[in-house]
Symmetry: C2
Subunit: 215 residues, 2 copies
Amino acid sequence: MATDDITTTTGDRRVRRTRTALARALIKLVEEHDLSRISVSDVAAGAEVSRSAFYDHYRDVHELAEDACTAMIDSLLEALPVPTHGSADMEEEATRSLTAFFASLAEHAGLYRALLGPQGSPRVADHIRRRIAAVTHDHLTGTGGDSTPQQVPHDVAAAFIAGALIGVAADWLQRGRPRPPAEMAAATWPLLNAYYRADLTSAVSVPRPPGESAG
Amino acid sequence: MATDDITTTTGDRRVRRTRTALARALIKLVEEHDLSRISVSDVAAGAEVSRSAFYDHYRDVHELAEDACTAMIDSLLEALPVPTHGSADMEEEATRSLTAFFASLAEHAGLYRALLGPQGSPRVADHIRRRIAAVTHDHLTGTGGDSTPQQVPHDVAAAFIAGALIGVAADWLQRGRPRPPAEMAAATWPLLNAYYRADLTSAVSVPRPPGESAG
DNA sequence: CGCGATAGCCTACATGTGTCAGAAAACCTA
DNA sequence: TAGGTTTTCTGACACATGTAGGCTATCGCG
């Protein structure tokens, strides 16, 4: 059910059916073999669709993969934490978001692992990175985007944090998820928070440690 | 007639010659077209080597790419900055390192762009990320890894920073390098520094300490 | 210098790729 | 339901892939 609403924008039933079938078949195959070992023929056969029909919609397996996991990625993006200025309440909220982020990864662990790993799809990885960067950029611009002369341009900061999250995620997934999502969130949050503060305050060489958490 | 100059690693000159020819051919091709459009036949032809000879050494184009850019990656890793505790001198040194890092990227911009972009090689990207993570992990363990009870495990922090650097690099390269290396270094350093401090001090409120024994 | 070892080349084959035309089927609209 | 439209399928093509066996030439070493 959750994987049903891929490609909702098309009006024609046939198109929807074909694309959904292809996506479903690809996801199934990716859970079993490496993406690099999956051919267009395999996917088409798995979807019970002719090979030409595949090429009528996608240029290659990677393009299908990019489309097939859009819904997955959406739920991932919703779990991105919003930068805080250090408020303890918002920190807790952010950690909750991050936990959801890693839980979302875990929910489709096989898929994400295959797509982000060394045998995965650069297309999908780049797509995810871009979208995380876009959301993060919005967060930054929305939160501290008044008039502070930033030493760190927002696009650089967004690329930084997007890559960082993907790096942590890929590493975690490839290691077989040795820690639960909550623990990963707890481990990642200080890094993220440090970055947020670096960007929002843009004050170099602050010797004060970020302690003094009330309660 | 044994003039052994470069026969230290493989023991056979023919291997060395073929592999360098292949690597050279691949690099030349990648500077022109997308990696996804480069076939084994192309590389073999460009290297004036039979196609079978290619398969005698590499499984696919990605594996060749991974091997071909090892030297490049080495010089990249040497430019990785070492974490500091906030000393102004070391900060300047770190910024110099980062500038070298981006300069190294710029030196082979076409290649890195092709390899790290959406049409690139997940294999190479993962390789680079792993190696950056390894070096960073060493830095962390060597610098502050003695007695401080880390909330942030070093492997997570290493994966974080490795991904972040690759994210910034990929974004920069794909945008056509709008800023010079020095500027990128200046923009990236505060983020890196913030992360270092987050990891080394790790003085935030921890929700729940996991039952892992430290030693 | 000669000999075993082995990298490289050639040929061949089964499969996958990307594309194209036209025929057939399913769709949306009226 | 009929009509025109869009999608899918069929079959075919030239090319790329990955693998295998056998042969030649080069290499390293005694």
